[in-house]
Symmetry: C2
């Protein structure tokens, strides 16, 4: 982690509950020349089911390629997360390093290799060093269990704070727990803005249902955030369910308690995703973009992301400028149905334009006051239909340029 | 124009030839409180044909809406360009102002209103003031003719230099001239990065062929540049052909000289487009992105634009960092066919990665030397097919943030 904590960070790492069947350990592989743990090992009880979502970047890492196949098996016994080297774009040598880790952990646990999930984040184009990985994994396998916070810190690279979240749900006659950690989206030369997220529950859930819940929760959380529109080659979110809560295993969304569990997973996903935005590179404002009145939810989300990814909108907010013309521009360039003369724009709760015109008697004072805060809300109503979406982003500041350009390799 | 000239600007404004049938005049409408001409009037000889390309932004200005209809008539007698007010998102009041200008000029020339083209650039959301427009147009109609450079300066808003280009062609037994001016893409609160381009030739060309030539030339020039991925509500390029060179009128691409004229139009379009990039906000490097080996030219262009629009690639080049991993990331996120293990990346003429791996014995010294220059070339070969494309952009620097965020409204 880097030293200067984001101004948008929560005050402290939250208290996360123990999840029966989940044991965390950390160790030093020394992937980089640094004085910190950089290898995380999570052991999962036999019978743990797993679901995963992965980057759509076609130049993805071996970890992502393998993980995508592994989740089809539906069973997970272990997770290894390497920090400091993403192992992306490293060809067969990178893949061999991942398979070595999988074999080493599988041998220790007496499970199948395919039940060992590996993620890596950090420098790309350098194969993960096999010797350091071997020694690091050996140390982690026998280390003392550690706290959630220690694990959340160990998976970080250039994050400015460790990120965790928890929720609970009643499933049948049991209370089940959901806890998650995430890293991203700090980045510094020559690393990439990889996001890695891991969510754990002690509920018993069939793999297919678990995947359905994760995919659905991701749409409104991890896939509804953007820092700079760039998509890492390694982005991964995994959801593990140990089944140790003792509930009657859930197999369909109609099962009693399935909705409650989904709500808890959704809440943890959203909280973690928003924490990633709060740690966006150089961020000084947390921005919520709400689009309504679109022809469909899908269309609304595309418009919302066009606004959230617009450098002109993001710099205007950094400058605390009520430049609603840039929001109009972003709506218009999204490639989605929109009618200039039905469009309405607001900052906070204050409408600045309606029906394709500035509002009569527009008073900029309350808008300017809203923009001085740390939490900014931008709304666009398209006036066409019922489609709506909300996404989150941060502003674009000198800090982003400093982190990504102010160095010489 | 702003005072600090871009480090990427040409040394001087080029010598542009007179185009028979084209008369330029400028005047002060005082759309803003500034001490400069801000209204440009170009009178075109009777019989002038016209073609146009316009922004795809659906929240476009009335000028764009009207212009798109007007070019269908194929005839142009006059052009008015307002600087300082884009008249975008101003509803019926903005449209009335444009129609007033069209009527005033048409009355003066004794032509149809639909033959008078109007563009506006500057602040949005404020209807173009009719009184200032009326007085400004009246002054322009009777002003002394002026130079190309004066016209090129007058259409500018926050550009740091005036932009012009010329070429000639042999058509039958005549030499025809092509000259153009463009403004963009400087921008400062609360204006927008509108690009306006105007190209003139004394060749005689039928409207349909003129449109075909402009549309084709735009694909490889104005539509192959990007500064920050944001698309203005007012972008416009118009091409006028006065027919005063006396050539046998061109009606099809097979006519003798048509290819030569197209080549001249293409050359002027490309030069003007590249000058816009050289004036990109905060630009310190001019970047050419060449993509080859794609499954199609269309696919190659999408990949090239994904690289050119990536904030991480642009900041890496600003930092003179050979961060080819970010190029890999951008290729992978483009949503086009690509195979990580066939991908090759180069900076300048130096390959840094091939077949999905860093090249053996990679020497960063010549790459670093290339990146220290003002003109950067990035190449990506996808190894899949014959599709190729070239696009141009600039780097992303603190200057961009300063221009767009370092102010309070």
């Amino acid at each position: 982690m880097t030293s200067t904590r984001s101004p948008l960070a929560p005050e402290t790492f939250p208290a996360l509950p123990d999840i029966a069947g989940v044991t965390r350990r950390v160790a030093r592989a020394q992937y980089k020349n640094w004085d910190r743990c950089d290898l995380t090992y999570v052991e999962l009880a036999p019978g743990t089911t797993v679901a995963g979502v992965f980057t759509r970047n076609v130049c993805c890492s071996s970890e992502v390629e393998l993980g995508r196949e592994q989740v089809k098996g539906g069973v997970g016994r272990a997770l290894i997360v390497n920090a400091g080297n993403s192992n992306a774009f490293t060809g067969y040598r990178g893949r061999e390093a991942v398979e070595q880790i999988m074999a080493q952990v599988a041998d220790h646990l007496g499970c199948a290799q395919s039940e060992v999930f590996v993620s890596s984040t950090g420098v790309i184009g350098v194969p993960l060093p096999k010797d350091k990985a071997r020694d690091g994994v050996a140390a982690a396998l026998t280390a003392q269990p550690c706290s959630w916070e220690a694990a959340a810190e160990t998976i970080c690279t250039t994050d400015t704070f460790a990120k965790g979240s928890a929720a609970s749900a009643i499933v049948g006659d049991r209370t089940v727990q959901v806890a998650g950690i995430v890293k991203g989206s700090g980045m510094i030369a020559p690393d990439m803005a990889t996001m890695l997220g891991y969510i754990f529950t002690d509920a018993a859930v069939a793999p297919a249902l678990l995947q359905e819940m994760l995919s659905e929760a991701t749409g409104g959380s991890f896939n509804s955030i953007t820092v700079d529109s760039d998509t890492s080659t390694s982005d991964t979110v995994l959801l593990f369910a140990t089944g140790r809560a003792g509930n009657v295993p859930l197999t369909t969304r109609d099962d009693p308690g399935a909705d409650a569990l989904y709500a808890a997973i959704r809440a943890v996903s959203l909280d973690l995703a928003q924490q990633v935005v709060r740690d966006g590179e150089g961020a000084s404002k947390f921005i919520e973009i709400q689009v309504s009145g679109a022809v469909s939810d899908h269309s609304a989300k595309r418009v919302a992301l066009a606004i959230a990814n617009s450098p002109l909108v993001k710099t205007a907010i950094a400058g605390e400028d009520a430049n609603w013309g840039r929001v109009v521009m972003a709506v218009g360039k999204a490639g989605e149905p929109a009618d200039r003369d039905k469009l309405a724009i607001r900052f906070g709760d204050h409408w600045v334009a309606k029906d394709g015109l500035p509002v009569d008697g527009y008073d900029e004072a309350p808008v300017a006051a809203h923009l001085k805060g740390l939490e900014i809300r931008v709304g666009a109503d398209l006036g066409l239909g019922e489609g709506h979406a909300t996404v989150w982003t941060c502003d674009l500041t000198h800090g982003y340029i400093s982190i990504n350009a102010d160095y010489r390799s």
